[in-house]
Structure formats: structure tokens, C-alpha cells
């Protein structure tokens, strides 16, 4: 039993790694398909062909693509991600500076949104078809489709412009007290949470309702168990796996949202780093950031998968 579980986890891990490898191939292929390459871009259009050729040789751009792919990929193992074309700083250093900020933002958002979403989802499932459920359904259904920048602009408008409680832009460097910390993080976190909570609450509700529809809950109802007990004692323990699955999947929405939120609030995270890199067409930096995002995405999807499988014995033997 334990062996097969261990093997299963290992198998999932291996398949995620293979997918990550294929993803890296796609990213590398897209970013190095160009005829006009980095060397041309660094030197500008007035460079002589000899100069371009020399820089190409220096950067290793004249080697066959597969070899370059291999060197780039092995760079991830050694921490050598190349050099940023726009300011000459090592990519790994830029990433190291920015990544903790993004992780902190993601952590705060997760800590706030998960409990709220779970309560909303469970409440809606318990009152299925009732006023509360229908109201929540309408709200979450709308929030899921709202673009992040609409939430962000409305938040700035209300809290910064009208009420004047919060600064419109985030600056992490000014944080020296808890109050300042909360002021800086309030709006980015609020924006990220709004979409995330809606997504998660919907999935939680669906997972719980799936359980509430099953025969054993019907049995509990016939036995005379009160609604609260049916949900909390009977259905919820069995829905933990699907709910964990839903939470992990919803968290992957963070990866898209954080790009807009970091940009609009000027937050010095990895996503705004990447957007700047894309504007400057700084390919080494773009590649590294894209790999980090795709890796995080695959990790969350794998966790979601594992939660679903481990909680449902029937899926273990597939």
C-alpha cells in the first residue's frame, strides 16, 4: 500500500518533469526562432556584419540550436541563467531580488483567500438553491469574469482617491511598521483575492455538492441527522480531497492575475520584472521568468492532481 502510494507520487512527479521539459523546449523554440537575434539587437542597426558576427560568436549564438538549448537548460541546474541584455546584470541576481516579493504577495493572498473562499463555498452548498446560494452564485460568477485591472482601478478610485486611506502605488522599501505594511499590501492583495476567492468558492461549492448528492448523505438524512451534521460530519471529510484539488487549481489563477496586479501597483515582483523584460525584448530574462511561472503552474496542477488521487482510493490504481 505504502509502496504503491510512493510509486504513484513518484510517477506524477516524473510526468510533471517531462511536461516541464517539453514546455522549456517550446519556450526556447519560440524565443530563439528569430532571424534577427540578440546580437543584432544589442549592437543596434548600424553595426557592421563583422561586429555582429563577433558578438554572436562571443554569446555562443552561432552554435547549433540543440546545443544552445542544452546549455541553456543545464544553466538552470548551475544557476547560470545568462545575462540580461538591457542592463548587463546576471539574470539569476535579478530574479533573486524580485522572487521573494512575489512569493510574499502570493502567500498573503493565499492565507486570506482560502478560508474566506471555503466558508463561502460551504455556506452556499449548505443553502443550495436558497437566497444566499443564488446571491453568491451571481456574485462569484460575475467576479470570475472581471478583469483584474477593473478591480484594481476601482479599488484605487475608492480607497486612494475618494477616501484617501491608501497610497495608490506600492513601494516595498517604505515598509517599517505593521501599519505601513498593511497599507502597501492592502490593494494588491484585495485585487488578487477578489477573483481568486470567487473561483475557489465556486469550485468548493461544486465539490461539496457532489458529495451531498451521494447515497450516504441521503442515508444520513433519512436517519434523521440534522443538516449541519450532515455537511460537517458526513460530507465535508469526504470532500476534503476535491476541495484541496480545487484550491490548488484556483491558486494557479494567481499566476495570471499577479502579472496585471504587480504592474498596476508598481510592485517590485517577478511578474513586473518579466513585463519590463518583454517590453525591452530582453530574451534571457524572459526565458528565465517564463520558466519560473510555468514551473510554479505545473507544481500547483500536480499538487491538485495528487490531492484528488490520494483522497480517492478508486483513482489510486489507475
Amino acid at each position: 500500500m505504502r509502496d504503491s502510494l510512493f510509486g504513484l507520487v513518484l510517477g506524477r512527479l516524473a510526468s510533471s518533469l517531462i511536461t516541464l521539459l517539453l514546455v522549456s523546449l517550446v519556450i526556447f523554440a519560440i524565443t530563439s526562432l528569430l532571424p534577427g537575434d540578440t546580437a543584432q539587437q544589442v549592437l543596434g542597426q548600424f553595426a557592421t556584419p563583422e561586429q555582429v558576427e563577433a558578438l554572436r560568436a562571443q554569446l555562443g549564438l552561432n552554435q547549433p540550436p540543440l546545443l544552445r538549448y542544452w546549455q541553456w537548460l543545464s544553466g538552470f541546474a548551475t544557476g547560470d541563467l545568462g545575462r540580461s541584455a538591457s542592463n548587463g546584470v546576471d539574470v539569476i541576481q535579478l530574479v533573486n531580488d524580485r522572487l521573494p516579493n512575489s512569493l510574499l504577495l502570493a502567500a498573503i493572498t493565499t492565507v486570506i483567500s482560502v478560508p474566506v473562499a471555503l466558508i463561502m463555498g460551504i455556506a452556499a452548498a449548505m443553502r443550495r438553491g436558497g437566497v444566499l446560494d443564488r446571491t453568491l452564485n451571481l456574485i462569484t460568477l460575475s467576479m470570475v469574469a472581471v478583469p483584474e485591472f477593473l478591480v484594481a482601478t476601482l479599488a484605487v478610485l475608492i480607497f486612494a482617491v475618494q477616501l484617501g486611506w491608501l497610497p495608490a502605488l506600492s513601494y516595498v522599501s517604505t515598509v517599517d511598521s505593521l501599519g505601513a505594511f498593511m497599507k502597501v499590501y492592502a490593494m494588491p492583495v484585495l485585487t488578487l483575492c477578489s477573483v481568486l476567492i470567487a473561483q475557489m468558492a465556486r469550485m468548493t461549492r461544486a465539490a461539496l455538492i457532489d458529495q451531498l448528492d451521494s447515497a450516504y448523505v441521503e442515508m444520513a438524512r433519512l436517519k434523521g441527522a440534522p443538516p449541519m451534521r450532515r455537511v460537517l460530519r458526513h460530507a465535508l471529510p469526504n470532500a476534503v480531497g476535491p476541495i484541496a484539488n480545487a484550491v490548488a487549481l484556483s491558486l494557479s489563477y494567481l499566476l495570471g492575475g499577479v502579472i496585471i496586479v504587480e504592474t498596476i501597483f508598481n510592485y517590485p515582483g517577478i511578474a513586473s520584472l518579466m513585463v519590463d523584460a518583454v517590453s525591452n525584448r530582453d530574451l534571457a530574462l524572459v526565458q528565465a521568468c517564463a520558466m519560473i511561472f510555468c514551473g510554479a503552474y505545473l507544481l500547483l496542477v500536480m499538487l491538485a492532481d495528487l490531492c484528488a488521487i490520494l483522497s480517492n482510493p478508486r483513482l489510486r490504481n489507475r
Binding site: T19, R134, V146, F149, T153, L255, V275
Partner: protein, 302 residues
Amino acid sequence: MNDTKTMPVSKGKRHPYVSPRSRLPIAVPKQRNRSGWQLTRWIGLSLFSFWLLVALFGPLFAPYPMGAFVSDQIYGGASTAHLLGTDYMGRDMLSRMLTGARYTVGLALVAALLSTLVGAGFGMLTVLLPRWLEESVRRIFDTLISIPSKMMALVMVSAFGTSIPLLILAAVLSYAPGSFRIAHSLAKNLATLEYVQVARTRGEGRLYIAAVEIFPNMIQPVLTDMGMRFVFIVLLLSGMSFLGLGVQPPVADLGSLVRENIGGLSQGALAVIAPALAIGSLTVGANLLIDSLSNSRDNQKE
């Protein structure tokens, strides 16, 4: 979903096109208040058709040319001359939004249509192809689905620079795989049904089976799925424009209108809020409409 609880035979409802042994995913009709989802459907339908009409005919009613500098006042408020105020260069916001909506809706429609054509087309045809070919196509789509859509768009823009065809290509590469997955599993289930087996035994070709036997039976879920993809693509493309990496001046979609006027946010300018709300009402409307349609699909088909 196991199939024991998916076949409600009560209430005199016949289930369309599904035999009792089928493993097709069928939604259990929701225990919802009928008037409740009727309301969301009407909200959704009116918002969505409003934006569709604006995209089709809006520019005809624009009071000023899109690029004309018509006012001395920047970030002007609503007035009789400029119903939605003026932008950061004193251009009429209403005129710009009417044209911007055409780009937002039009691009997303084209991209959603293409994604569905590519995804559902492959999903349907691969069922009929040899096993190894099916598996390799699936592997490719599975790889593409593992790249978040914004990442795909950002990476492609960083490599090739932004342009409208490239944005559409990025959207198709991101959203065709999901469409493929759904269409593939639908087609796979349909392909095991008796009437398809009969057609096969009769000696019909693959294309005939796909077009005549399988396609008509999966068109509804595929269309619903296309609606979802439309919403995602509107969000993706306006997000890219908001980052300044999407549609470029002089052309502007609603996302670029939010971006170019973001400087007016601290004054509470209408020029930022109006296009942002416009995108929100479009996506929310479409989402409400699709949700109500897909929930009531089983009730409608009788």
C-alpha cells in the same frame, strides 16, 4: 462523475441522444429557482448583445473621428458635447470606445472561433486516426495547455514583437488545447456508440463519420465551450493591451484605452473607468449568459 446518478428519468424529460449505457458526461439538472436563472440569462443576454451591436454598428454612431483632438480639456468629465468625457489628449472618449469595442469583441471572436476550429477539429479527427498519431497530437496539446495563456502571449511578444495576427496566434495556441481536450473526450465517447459502429461497419470513410455521425452530436457543448473561451480571450487580450503589449496605437482596443488613460486615475477620470467597466460588463455578461445556457441545456432540448 459516475454514471449512476446522472440519469434522472423522472419529470417526463427525455434525454436527448444518449443511451442509458452511455458514459457521456451529463449534468444533473440543478435544483434552482427557475426565475433566478432566467434573470441571469436576461442580464447576460442583454449585456452581451449590446456589446455585439456596439462592435457591429458602434463606429457609425461615433460623434467624432477616433483620432481627432476635439477638446482643450484633458480627462474631461461627462458633458453634452462629450458623453463619456475626454481622454489624456483631449480626444472624445465615446468615439474611441465605440471603435475600441469593435477591436476587443472582433479580435476575441476571431480568436475564439479559430481556437475552437483547431481544437475541436483535431479533437474530433484524432479519435478516428491511428493510435500513435492520436497520442502524439494529444502530447502536443498537453504541453501547450501547461503554459499559462499570459505566459504564452508574453513569450511570443518578447520574441516577435506585438501585432494583431500574433496576438490572435498566441490566443489560439493557449486556448485551442482546452477545446481539444473537451472535444476529444466527447468524440471519444460518441465514437463508441452503436450508430457510429454501424456507420463504420457500413464502410463509411473517416471524414464522413466525423462530419455526419459525430459532429452534429457534439455541437452544443462545443459551442458552450467556445463561449467560455471567448470570455478568457477577451480577458487575455485586454490584459495584454493593458500591459502595453497588445494592440498598438493608433489603433486601440478597450484594454489600451484603460492603459493610455491610467494617468487620470488619481483624478478619478471617466476616461479610465469607462473602458474598464466596458470590458467588465462584456465579460460578465457573456459569462452569465453561457452559464445559464449550459445549466438549462438539458431542460431546453425536448
